[in-house]
């Protein structure tokens, strides 16, 4: 017997299912994840407990959850501007690195400062650094029509090598036993923590403020409307007289500034100095966060917490289950696969004849 499978665009496209599908994707990920634990000869229930519950069963764990979720949320919120506009900035990791270099550089330049203005200056330069790195693909895209996906990706690696150059070269700590790291930032350049003894820092407030602003921009402003229109059809947006090139430029700058900010928060917050591996792939993972949060500001906050939990769970899994922390990446990859897959069923009807 031959089945003919056809797909058809749905007319009853449902917004409810659109926001439900991330939950379906998470459920499917957990289902398939349990097989992975079974293959590794581990009890899925015990493993999930170690992976998803025990990391946040005390105040330290909850603080760590916010430490990980903050950069993810800030970067993903920035990226949502680009993605809404159908512009693929996948170089957030590089923009994060540039933010850390610019802002961190200010901290190292004034390393004997005790001024209250040092931290705001570092934050400003962090955002400028990220925005600067994002303007390169933006200008290449608008002036020369160069594919922004490839340029922003390539620039990520360039940024990582620039950071590497600084921490093994001119900014290397003379008292650092030859390790590739900078001197610690002065106390005035460190991000204040919210609670004594915990690492969660004021970056959380920034994430919430950016979320709030983004919500307003998307729902109440002309700029947000323009983004929506040109995301749906760049031709329609040009026909309506919107300056599409300007939109590309602004969205790139916004997302770059957010990534740079996140980078600076990482180095002046939990890390406290510059070294090679300042980010465990936050810039790339934030792309998953943005998609999983459906490019919706509140959704992004929720998905950043969930993905942050995969980082924490993976660390605990390494400690207690003796499996590599990279297992977190398996879950992150799976959840994105399933999300993209379930979107299909919302957009199309499958007919089997």
């Amino acid at each position: 017997m031959v089945y003919l499978i056809r797909v058809q665009l749905r007319e009853d496209y449902s917004n409810f299912i659109f926001y439900l599908s991330p939950l379906v994707a998470v459920a499917l990920t957990l289902f398939f994840g349990s097989f992975i634990f079974l293959i590794l000869d581990l009890s899925p229930i015990e493993s999930f407990k170690i992976f998803f519950i025990s990391p946040i069963s005390n105040s330290y764990g909850i603080s760590e959850l916010f430490v990980k979720a903050t950069p993810l949320a800030i970067i993903a919120l920035g990226l949502s501007y680009c993605f809404k506009n159908n512009i693929y900035n996948i170089g957030a990791e590089g923009q994060l690195t540039m933010g850390a270099i610019f802002g961190g550089g200010i901290g190292l330049l004034f390393n004997d400062s005790t001024s209250v203005f040092l931290l705001p200056l570092m934050i400003l330069f962090g955002a400028i650094g990220g925005a600067f790195w994002a303007t390169i693909p933006a200008i290449l895209k608008t002036k020369f029509n160069t594919n922004e996906i490839l340029t922003s990706l390539m620039l990520t690696y360039v940024a990582l090598f620039i950071l590497d150059y600084f921490v093994v070269g001119p900014w290397k700590d003379p008292e650092g036993y030859g390790l590739p790291k900078s001197m610690p930032f002065p106390e005035a350049g460190r991000l204040p923590v919210l609670f004594d003894g915990l690492r969660v820092h004021i970056g959380v407030y920034f994430a919430l403020i950016i979320c709030f602003i983004t919500y307003i921009v998307y729902n109440k402003t002309l700029f947000g409307f323009k983004l929506k229109v040109s995301g749906l059809s760049s031709k329609a947006s040009q026909y309506a007289g919107f300056k599409y090139k300007n939109l590309i430029f602004y969205t790139f700058v916004i997302s770059g500034a957010c990534a740079g900010l996140a980078g600076l928060f990482e180095v002046s917050g939990p890390i406290g100095l510059l070294y090679r591996d300042i980010s465990p792939n936050y810039g790339f993972t934030a792309i998953i966060v943005a998609f999983l949060g459906r490019l919706n500001p509140i959704g992004i906050i929720l998905s950043s917490l969930l993905i942050a939990l995969t980082y924490l769970g993976a660390e605990d899994a390494q400690l207690f289950l003796k499996i590599p922390s990279a297992v977190g990446f398996v879950f992150q990859g799976l959840v994105l696969f399933f999300l993209l897959g379930t979107d299909f069923l919302n957009k199309y009807r499958v007919l089997i004849k």
């Binding site: 594919n147 490839l150 390539m154 398996v330 993209l340 897959g341």
Partner: protein, 289 residues
């Protein structure tokens, strides 16, 4: 400089560049058919670890090669199903594949990290890599199927109207690219290293991706580009050894900068872009619209 040193350096360049040629030529064919697969790094790692584990467990090179290839078929098959049948975003799907592959390979390989194995001679693979570039060049420019791949990549709607099976063609090119990436990984863990270590491909998947653009989607340029990229990396080590002051990081970022410059050059002119990049690259094909 004496002859022996030069031959020695050329030998190292040959050995270290081969994975770039494999992964690059595979991705070139995939992109020629209009699909951008950002999952190379993940495919390479899983190809590397599955071949390695099989070799440790069975001691048989043929089985290990086979399993590495199968891993590439499965993973790229999943990618193909998502982007072709479910019409998912190619960028996001490719990134998911890379992230998934990094995690999966690290998990599978944990027990085998540091296990010693008897490596395979790299020279078979080096010879095969040259033959591969030649045959892909011939395939794309001289055979009917090759022209079909290009037609699908240039304009999938016209290709479909002409009666070509766009989906099937892309399935084949994606799986070809996936297998080539697996082989690149296999080469790294079995011939080049030979050992397994978490994340051992060290970003070669991204360089291979850059390489395809740098080569403006032409096989023979890809071969030259691969040796330029590989040569620069080796030159950097040697220059450091003889005390040249230029920091190594600037050599390391050269492939990426060169690729950006090439990209800007080809895209600044519409005709030039038309002659180089496949026009349907990263455009989803929706048959029933």
């Amino acid at each position: 400089m004496n002859i022996e040193l030069i031959i020695g350096i050329l030998n190292i360049v040959l050995i270290s560049t081969t994975p770039l040629v494999f992964a690059g030529i595979g991705e070139l064919v995939t992109e020629k058919s209009g699909v951008l697969n950002l999952g190379l790094e993940g495919l390479m790692l899983v190809g590397a670890v599955s071949g390695f584990i099989t070799l440790v467990l069975t001691g048989n090179y043929f089985y290990s090669l086979l399993l590495s290839i199968i891993s590439g078929v499965i993973l790229s098959g999943i990618f193909a199903f998502l982007v072709l049948n479910l019409m998912t975003n190619q960028i996001a799907t490719g990134l998911a594949l890379t992230i998934f592959g990094i995690g999966l390979s690290a998990m599978l390989g944990k027990k085998f990290s540091g296990t010693p194995i008897e490596g395979l001679s790299p020279y078979y693979f080096i010879i095969i890599s040259f033959l591969l570039v030649l045959s892909v060049g011939y395939f794309l420019s001289k055979t009917k199927s090759g022209l079909m791949v290009r037609a699908v990549g240039e304009n999938h709607n016209s290709a479909y109207a002409l009666g070509y099976n766009v989906i099937k063609t892309r399935y084949l090119t994606i799986i070809f690219g996936g297998v080539m990436s697996s082989l690149a990984g296999y080469y790294i863990s079995i011939c080049y290293a030979p050992m397994w270590q978490e994340g051992m491909t060290a970003g070669r998947g991204w360089i291979a991706l850059a390489l395809v653009v740098f080569a403006t989607w032409k096989p023979w340029r890809l071969l030259i580009g691969a040796y330029i990229f590989g040569g620069v990396a080796i030159m950097q080590m040697n220059l450091q050894a003889i005390g040249v002051k230029l920091p190594g990081q600037f050599f390391n970022m050269m492939p990426y900068l060169a690729t950006i410059i090439v990209l800007v050059f080809i895209s600044s002119n519409k005709l030039r872009l038309k002659l180089s990049a496949p026009a349907s690259l990263n455009v989803p094909f929706e048959k029933n619209q």
